[in-house]
Structures are given as structure tokens and as C-alpha cells.
Amino acid sequence: MKNSYLIFISMLLITLSCATQEYSQGRELYNYYCSSCHLESGQGLRSLYPPLAKSDYLAKYNETLPCIIRKGLEGQIIVNGKDYDMPMPAMPKISAFEITNIMNYINHNFGNDLPFVKFVDVKAKLEECK
């Protein structure tokens, strides 16, 4: 009986620890590909690089985000009422799998509460933006 309690508690702890590590792959990838400009907490840098944290642009263009990440972005955009025009470099080699992980990390961190994205949808979207 005592053993089954221990097993139950261990299982619960494992589940809880997994829950706090949500999107950890996305975090690694974000730190590698994106955090140079958008910085570690998605806060952006002054008027040079736009924030991802609570960004209205991110919410509005979430569906096109796979294309933005892979193809980059040029020209002026308005994020949370502020103008930004530094070009975002393209990342032609980034995979649909990596983009899915990054998006799920961004969409559920930095104070964002945006939809969960699926690999199949990201992959389909990437084919469209070619």
C-alpha cells in the first residue's frame, strides 16, 4: 500500500515537472534563432526590433508567421502602435518542425495566449508561401 502511494506521488511529480518544461524545445530553438534581436523575453529592443511579448502584430499575423520566419520580412510594420523597419533576415534552411516548436513557444510565453499550432498546418502553410 505504502509503495503504491510512493509510485503515485512519483508519477504526479514527473507529470508536474514535465508540465513546467512545456515547449522546452521551442525555447532552445527560439534562443538560437530569434533571441538575438527579439531578446530572451521577447521584449524586442527599443524602436529597432519589435516585441513578440503581447504583440498585436503577432496575434494578427499568426497564420502567416511560418512564412515570415522562413522568408524574412522587409519594409515598415506597426507593432503595438509603434513603427519598425529593420529587415528581418530570411532563414531558408529552418524546418517546418523547428518553426512549429518556435511558434508554440512564442504563442504560449512572454504573456501571450495564442493558439497552439500543428506541424501539418505549418508544413502546408510553408508550401503556400514558396
Binding site: 538575438s36 534581436c37 531578446l39 529592443l45 527599443r46 524602436s47 529597432l48 529587415p87
Partner: protein, 208 residues
């Protein structure tokens, strides 16, 4: 308690007070870094090379124009997609603290002499929220910038395979008014910059 123990206690208390007081006020003397020569018994310390840049306002930036100020020098370029924004975020911490300081400037040298014109540097500085001539974003003669990099403890190499087209590092180098290098840190790491603040304070204390 006999007299000897009272005396002992007083000595101990005095010693603790003295050491605490000293700890609060002491300033470390920073070394002069780099290669040194001994000529006729005198030590000749490394000096950063002479330089003559133009900043985002079109003003000259040279040892003469800095006129006895210490400065922090880094290499960067405005379209750098890798380390520069993170380093700039850390330099902003330094700038915010010292922007009106009479004895310290920041000099950010662009290694993209083709693209980073005075106008581009001005635009970049403005977007970073820097509207003060204590932080110079400079350009200049390409050979001077590349050939002198090592003398400033920096790396600058044109490399078409590198992200953005250039290899360079994120060091922040602290240079005194006599062009001696007195400290440096990797501007990518906030905790290194925390320690760098101590170096800056120690150097500025020499000018008091």
C-alpha cells in the same frame, strides 16, 4: 572580564570596523592590459592604435576629440543579425548610467563601412533611443578599422559565409584617457557586464 579581555574585544571591534569601512571605500587599481616592453628599465604599456572616426552627427571622434575622456569601444554593424542587438541591449545599461558623465564615452565602431553611412548610424542610434553625443556610432577608413582591430582587442573579418557577412566579437573594451586598455567583458553576458561596471567605477575613480 579583566582588562586584557576588554582590550582584546576593543581591538577586534576596531579591526572589524576598519576592514568594513575599507571595503566600502576601496577602489581597485586596474591593470594596463596587453603586450608590454621594457626599455631602459621603463615599462612601455600597450596603447590602442591612433584613430580618426566620424560619428552619427558627422563629428570627428579621435583621441583629440575625446579630450581626456575614458571610453568603451566595441565593434558592430547595424544589419548584424546575430550578437549585436544583445550587446547593444547591455551597452544601453551602461549608457543609461553614464550618459551625462564628463569622463566616459561609448564608441561603437561599424565594420560595415560600405552600408553603414553616417545617416544609417544616426537612424540606428535614434531608434535605440540614443540622442546624446556621449555614445558615438562611428564609421571611418576601412583599412584603419580592420587593421587596428587587434590593437583594440577586437576581431573583424569580412566573411561572406558568416551571418550578415562579417565575423566579429561582442567585447566591450574599456580604454583610459592615455589609450591603455584597462578592462574588457563579453557584452553578450549580462553577468559579465555586471562585473564590468566595477571596472568602470574603478577607472573613473582615478579621474576624481
Amino acid at each position: 572580564m579583566n582588562n586584557i579581555s576588554i582590550l582584546y574585544c576593543l581591538c577586534l571591534a576596531g579591526f572589524i570596523l576598519a576592514s568594513c569601512g575599507g571595503g566600502l571605500q576601496s577602489h581597485k587599481s586596474l591593470p594596463k592590459l596587453g603586450h608590454r616592453d621594457i626599455i631602459d628599465g621603463d615599462t612601455i604599456f600597450h596603447k590602442v592604435p591612433d584613430f580618426n572616426f566620424t560619428d552619427q552627427y558627422g563629428h570627428e571622434v579621435s583621441p583629440k576629440s575625446l579630450n581626456g575622456k575614458a571610453f568603451i569601444l566595441d565593434y558592430f554593424f547595424t544589419s548584424c543579425p546575430t550578437i549585436c542587438p544583445r550587446v547593444k541591449a547591455q551597452e544601453l545599461r551602461i549608457f543609461e548610467r553614464y550618459k551625462d558623465h564628463p569622463n566616459l564615452s561609448i564608441v561603437s565602431v561599424s565594420i560595415d563601412t560600405k552600408y553603414d553611412t553616417k545617416e544609417r548610424l544616426n537612424n540606428y542610434a535614434t531608434k535605440l533611443g540614443v540622442n546624446n553625443s556621449n555614445w558615438h556610432f562611428v564609421t571611418g577608413d576601412k583599412d584603419m578599422i580592420y587593421d587596428n582591430a587587434v590593437g583594440f582587442f577586437h576581431t573583424a573579418i569580412e566573411n561572406k559565409d558568416a551571418p550578415g557577412g562579417y565575423d566579429h566579437d561582442g567585447k566591450l573594451v574599456l580604454i583610459d584617457k592615455d589609450r591603455h586598455i584597462r578592462g574588457f567583458c563579453d557584452g553578450l553576458f549580462p553577468e559579465e557586464v555586471d562585473d564590468f561596471f566595477d571596472d568602470i567605477e574603478n577607472l573613473l575613480h582615478e579621474y576624481k
